[in-house]
Subunit: 229 residues, 2 copies
Amino acid sequence: MTRYLNQSEATKLDEELFNVYNFGVEQLMELAGLSCASAISNGFPSFKNVLIVVGPGNNGGDGLVCARHMKIFGYSPEIFLPKRTAKTLYENLIKQCELFEIPILNACPSVEELNAKYSLVVDALFGFSFKPPVRQEFCEILHNMIHMSTPCCSIDIPSGWDVENGPTLGAPYLKPEMLISLTAPKLCARFFKGKLHYLGGRFIAPVLARKYELELPNYVGIECYVCLS
Amino acid sequence: MTRYLNQSEATKLDEELFNVYNFGVEQLMELAGLSCASAISNGFPSFKNVLIVVGPGNNGGDGLVCARHMKIFGYSPEIFLPKRTAKTLYENLIKQCELFEIPILNACPSVEELNAKYSLVVDALFGFSFKPPVRQEFCEILHNMIHMSTPCCSIDIPSGWDVENGPTLGAPYLKPEMLISLTAPKLCARFFKGKLHYLGGRFIAPVLARKYELELPNYVGIECYVCLS
């Protein structure tokens, strides 16, 4: 059984990848985003018009890389960035998407637009370092994603969910059909009720997996994702 | 027909990836090395004991990334570095290999050792910026690779070959069984007589491929390599 990580374990594992393994953010983000695009091509092979909703942190960076690889794979992705950050890493990833001719939306799409234009929405808003509440600038897009009928694929954490305790009951919350956990599932994945749960981010050394008692499932051959459901 | 690039075109394309697309070296090296490991798993699926010979430039960096992914895929790679460089990028990639428990040889393996211990040798010594002659510190390993009976897989350029004019006739030269061209084949690939020619490095935007008239072959699905032979 794959073990689910709490927020502090996920943070420590991430810090170890950067500070002990000396991985660069760009390097792991490239592998993480590629694994997301690959898993989506497995879960939704015929869903060509895809919107990727990109947050301002590393989860958003994974989304930008995912968008570029989806374009390479033959999808027609578009991007919405509720809040652009001035970080060089972000600007570079956005530049790459622009040069790969991926449209970037100017305005927040309405529920009707999400339903009419896209066959899949990828949620790359918030990752494992999210702490509620959702800040003002993300409320409109998250509201629209919660109320759309288009299926949603969340990267690592369904946005708005508590990383450990899942959705806040009593209020509407995002219900993705697909979840791609990265490196290892976080505790909130226990509350995931969608059909497709994948694991991506195949870059953990065996010694590190043992240290965190991850008991990762076996990836097949050279595949960079594995289906857990 | 895929077009073969001369040395100056290869250099210009590379500069454009870094200076216009703002790709990071780490980012593209990760994709290039992953595509090499993936292509090798296709070309030599049952050759588990592999030595990766790593040069001091970006070709060597691709080799270090390739080694790590081969380990992840279940191979038993080892590494030989004829000349360690103090560059941070290199030190980080080597650190990652060490933590993935990939042995690093202390001494140059003899022809007999190459024949006895390894079922495949990956040549990641010199890439497309190589200019002859081969410097002293690389002569022994290159000599041994030329005279070994173990099959060789060269990354991008068979080491010691002129990037445009191929091997120097009249002297013994490396004859790889497999060549993995990265982004696009270089002119010397016309002289490649091995059985397996692959293309890896699936990260060129269509607009850039058109600019350089690359006429790249179609990659299949989400695969990061394509067999040209």
